[in-house]
Structure formats: C-alpha cells, structure tokens
C-alpha cells in the first residue's frame, strides 16, 4: 500500500520534472528505454527466476507485441488516448496467445531442451516477420525494409505507468497461492507434482504471463522508436534480456529493475568508449558468474513496507524505483 502511494508521488513528481523541461529530451528518451528494458527483464524474470526455466526466445515475443500493436496503431484512426492502451493490450495478448501455443509443446521438455526449443521458436518468429510479405503478398510487416510511421505514443508517463502495473501484477501473483505453486516448481518439480500441483498448468501459466509482458514491452518499444525491423529482435536481444535478469539476480524484481537501468544507462554514459563497451559488458557477465553465480541481488526482494517495519516505524524514504533518481543528478 505504502509502496503504491510512494510510487504515485514519485511518478507524478518526475513526470512534472520531465514535462517542465528541466530534464533534457535526451535523458528522457534514455529513461523511457530504461523503463522498456525493465518490463522486459521483469517479464523474463517470471520464466527464469520464478519458474526456473530458461527460455532463449524472449525477443520473439517482444517482436510479436511490437508488430501487432504497430500494425494496429497504424491501421486505426481513434484518438491517441484510446489507441495507446488498446495497442499495448493487443500486443500483449498476441504475444501471450503465441506464448501459450508454444508453451504447450515446449514445456513438456526440461532444462536445456526447453532452452533450445524456445530458441528455435524465437528464430522462426523472426524469419516469419522478415519474409511473410513476400509469401502472402500482404503489406503487413514490410520485411527487412522495416515498418515505419508508427504513431509515437510512448512517453515517460505511460512507460513508467506500465512498469508499475507490471511490478504490481507480478508481485500480487507471486504472493498468491498460484505464485507459490510456481516457486515450488522451480525448487523441485518432482516434489511439487507429488504434492498435487498441476505442474503443466502452472508452467504454461507462468510462460504465458511472461510472454504477455514481453509483448507489452514490445508494444511500448514500437511506439517509442516509430520504426521497427525484425533484425532488432534476434537471438542477441534474447540473450541481452537474459543477461539483465541474471545480473540482477534471478527471482528478484528489484534486481531486474536495477540491472535494467544500469545496463541501459551505462552504454549511454560510456558513449565515448563505445568500442569497448561490449567487451566490458561480456567480461562483467563472466566475472559476476564466476564470483557470484546467483546474480548481484540474489533472490532478495525490496519492499518499502518491510523496510519501514524493520526500522520500527521510522520513515526513511529510500526511493523504491532507483530509476527515478537519475534525472535529478
């Protein structure tokens, strides 16, 4: 509850700052990108951190969300206030539906095989988006020439509203009995099954949820850039999302948020050394894995309510989402 109040205060405050122009346009765009990457990391965190599976085709779901919402937003002429939430919902639903279809056969497999089959599906989604026009003769995705003129509906406020909704939904589900069922599958699938948990149902549920939010992030991304092409959603993008989740700590929402912020903002700050930044990135990954295999935050989750009760009611408002801090500096 107190988290929500604080978030609303922070969001309105920072939106005010952004709109009044005290934060430059460039920083705003970087922040929006941070927000999109946060949703991506949070969504993969459901499948990797909570469900304990390793999907390597997450960018495919993002691509689906981006393309469906872009096609939708280009196609209809309603007021921009209505087109944005609808576009995001449609993007998310399509990704969730395909995730559900893929999940049914894929989740029968375990561990590495699941990783491989999702990788296969991700690549197929990309190839289909690239070539579907030339086969069916539609003018839908425009293939490699990229889909242009998407209405730029994504702004600072609605991005972080989506981040908040994502956090809230994931948090609520994970604290419910469905969430505990999902966690039990991660910890020991055989034991969970023996306790009467329908593992197939919960695995598909977690996977679909994960795909849904990836689709939402994709939709935001389409509205943010205005131009999308299939090449942006390749295998490397999936790996990038996975790296974000793992660095933050699998199963930690605050970890995902922090590492998404750092990994998005750091390359921007290091523009001068852009040649070496990918090297630093991969070295960081290897070093973290060797010295702290659980990721930076482990499975620790941050909650202001717990912090407050720990401090004995002494309110020491440490900002919940770290991302909000950056523009002030």
């Amino acid at each position: 509850m107190i988290n929500t109040v604080l978030f609303v205060v922070l969001l309105t405050g920072s939106t005010g700052l952004v709109n009044s122009g005290s934060v430059s346009n460039y920083y705003t765009r970087v922040l929006i990108l941070c927000g999109i990457n946060m949703i991506l990391a949070l969504s993969l965190n459901i499948a990797t951190g909570y469900l304990g599976q390793l999907p390597l085709g997450h960018a495919g779901f993002m691509a689906l969300g981006a393309y469906t919402s872009a096609i939708f937003m280009r196609g209809v002429t309603v007021s921009p206030d209505a087109v944005f939430p609808l576009g995001i919902l449609i993007g998310g639903m399509t990704a969730a539906f395909v995730g559900f279809l893929i999940g049914i056969p894929a989740l029968r497999l375990k561990g590495d095989y699941l990783a491989i089959i999702t990788l296969g599906f991700g690549e197929i989604i990309r190839v289909v988006l690239l070539n579907i026009d030339s086969v069916l003769g539609f003018k839908l995705t425009y293939g490699a020439a990229s889909l242009k003129n998407i209405p730029k509906t994504t702004n600072f406020f609605n991005t972080f509203l989506c981040v908040a909704v994502t956090c809230f939904v994931i948090h609520t589900i994970m604290k419910s009995r469905h969430g505990r069922a999902i966690l039990s599958i991660r910890d020991n699938e055989i034991a969970a099954e023996a306790c009467g948990i329908n593992t197939t149902y919960y695995k598909t549920f977690g996977f679909t949820l994960s795909a849904f939010f990836a689709g939402v992030a994709g939709a935001l991304y389409a509205g943010y850039l205005g131009v999308i092409s299939p090449a942006a959603f390749g295998f490397m993008k999936s790996i990038e999302i996975l790296v974000t989740v793992v660095l933050g700590g699998m199963g930690s929402m605050i970890g995902s948020i922090i590492s998404a912020t750092v990994l998005t903002a750091l390359p921007e700050l290091l523009r001068a050394f852009s040649q070496y930044r990918m090297i630093a990135y991969s070295l960081l990954l290897i070093v973290v894995m060797i010295f702290k295999p659980t990721g930076l935050m482990g499975s620790y989750d941050f909650s202001l309510s717990t912090l407050l009760s720990k401090l004995g009611g002494k309110p020491k408002p440490k900002p919940l989402p770290e991302k909000e801090d950056e523009p002030h500096e």
């Binding site: 070539n131 991969s282 295999p293």
Partner: protein, 295 residues
C-alpha cells in the same frame, strides 16, 4: 543444366555444408556429454580459426598447409584456455550460471574480434586447390569433395580415438558416471581438458573447411554457424557422437533442399522447424540416451 545434375550438385552442396555442421556439432556433443554444458562459445572458436587462417595466409604469407595447422592449433589452445579460465571455477555452480558464462565468452570473443580486425569481412584466399571432377554431365566441385573426405576421415579417427584409446575410454566413463569414474582413478580435470581440446580441434578443421566453401572471415560468422551446428547436435541426440554426424548431414541436406525449392530465405526457419518437430516427437533427439530422473 539437366534436372539430374541440378539434383546431384544440390546434394553435394548439402553434404558439404552438412559435413562442416557435423564437425562442429561433434564438439558441442562431446562437451555436453561430459559436463552437460551447452558450450555457446563453440561457434566463436570457429571464427577464431578462420581469422587465424586469414592472418597466416595474407599477413604472414604462409602456405595454406601452415595456415591450416595454425588454425587448428589456435582453436585447440583457445578451447583449453576457455575451459580452464571460465568453466573450471564453475564446475560446482548451478548449470544455468555455466551456460550464461558460455554466452559471455561468446560475446567477448565476437567483440574482441570486431575491435582487432574490424567489423567488415576479410577475404580468405583459396585454401583448397582441387580441380572439379566431371562425371558424365555432372561436375563435382573439388572443394566439396575435399570437405566431405576430410570430415569423414576425421570422424572415423574420432570414433577410433573414443572406442580404442585409453583417453577415449576415460571420456566415456566420465560421461556415464562422473563420480564412479573418479573412484576408478580417472582424472576428471585431465579428461575434461582433453575433451575440450579434441572438440576445439574439430572446430578448427571445420573452420578451415568452412572458409574453403565461403572464403571470408567476419566477427559474427560463428554465431549462426554455431547455432546451426548446435541444432544438428540436438537433432541427432546431444551427447551422442554418431548422432551429431547424422544430425549435421541432415541439417545440411535440409538446407540444400530448401534452397533448391526456392525457399532460401526460409532456410533458417526450415532448420529450426525440423528441430522443433524432432524435439516434440522425440525429446532426446534421434539417437539420444533416455535418462530417467530418479527421486
């Protein structure tokens, strides 16, 4: 060109790429069989091999034979170094961390190559100079024949190594039961290092053969090649040596068939589609061992 000669030349193309895939897939399969790691860096070892060959032939002006030997040696050393530096400290860690480290290594190699050699592709001079053979109306390219012969010979040698030599026996023992193998006095570290060395050497041979077919080296050439070879290894049943060979040839032929039907842009989708069908029908691949998990 008659229909028959088209079919034969496409078949040869398929076998040629297939044998490269098979060689690379063997490396994936051997490593997976022994430490259950999907070695994502394997594809980038090929890239290093290709650059080594290019460096020796163009910059140092050496003969192709020396370049080939250098490429294979570089790959072998690199494979062992990666294993020692990145994978050994993580042997007790969760499998996922190991996998992510492998992905990190793969990133690192690609970006290092990009900084050292630049992002553009480097043309590799012809490595194999064998004239095409004419069989009636059908012309068989010399490179294709050399590729197929070399890879078949290396596969036979590998099979002998695994079946007959003492080290091969140790490898089989470790992949069957690591704990029991250690109790029998087999050095785990030595065996794993040896496996990486052999797998990377095969990748080195694969890289030279790949350069013979597509004469250029670029920083990201290993990514897609590695992915396809990996699919081949899974298709045949990961951890199984004959499976990797069958998988490699099957993927190569499927790609050639897709191109022959005018679907060359859908080549990747065809490959991954086959993978998905096989995994859904028979999750351990064509020749994979079926491991029952005991509680």
């Amino acid at each position: 060109m008659s229909l028959f000669s088209t079919i034969v030349s496409q078949f040869m193309n398929g076998l040629q790429t297939g044998s490269v895939y098979a060689l690379v897939a063997l490396g994936y399969s051997m490593v997976y069989g022994i430490i259950l790691l999907l070695n994502f860096a394997h594809g980038d070892i090929i890239m290093v091999g290709a650059y080594t060959a290019w460096l020796f032939m163009v910059n140092f002006g050496q003969s192709p034979i020396i370049a080939v030997i250098a490429a294979i040696a570089a790959c072998t050393v690199l494979g062992v170094v990666i294993e020692k530096v990145a994978y050994t400290p993580l042997r007790k860690a969760p499998r996922l961390s190991l996998l992510i480290t492998a992905i990190g290594i793969s990133f690192l190699l690609e970006n290092l190559a990009q900084i050292i050699f630049g992002a553009g592709a480097k043309p590799v001079p012809a490595i194999v100079n064998v004239p095409a053979i004419l069989l009636g109306s059908v012309s068989l390219s010399g490179t294709a024949i050399v590729t197929i012969v070399v890879s078949v010979v290396s596969m036979i040698l590998l099979n002998l190594l695994i079946k007959k030599s003492k080290m091969g026996k140790a490898m089989r023992a470790v992949s069957e039961d690591t704990g029991a193998a250690q109790l029998m006095g087999i050095s785990l570290n030595k065996t794993i290092t040896f496996t990486f060395a052999v797998g990377s050497a095969l990748a080195g041979i694969g890289s030279v053969l790949y350069c013979a077919a597509y004469p250029q080296a670029s920083p990201t050439m290993g990514a897609m090649l590695g992915l396809k070879a990996f699919v081949a290894a899974v298709l045949g049943g990961i951890g199984s040596i004959p499976g990797a060979m069958i998988g490699g040839f099957a993927i190569g032929l499927a790609e050639a068939a897709a191109s022959a039907f005018g679907l060359s842009v859908w080549k990747d989708a065809v490959v991954f589609g086959i993978l998905i069908i096989v995994l859904v029908v028979k999750p351990t691949g064509l020749l994979g061992r079926n491991l029952q998990e005991k509680v």
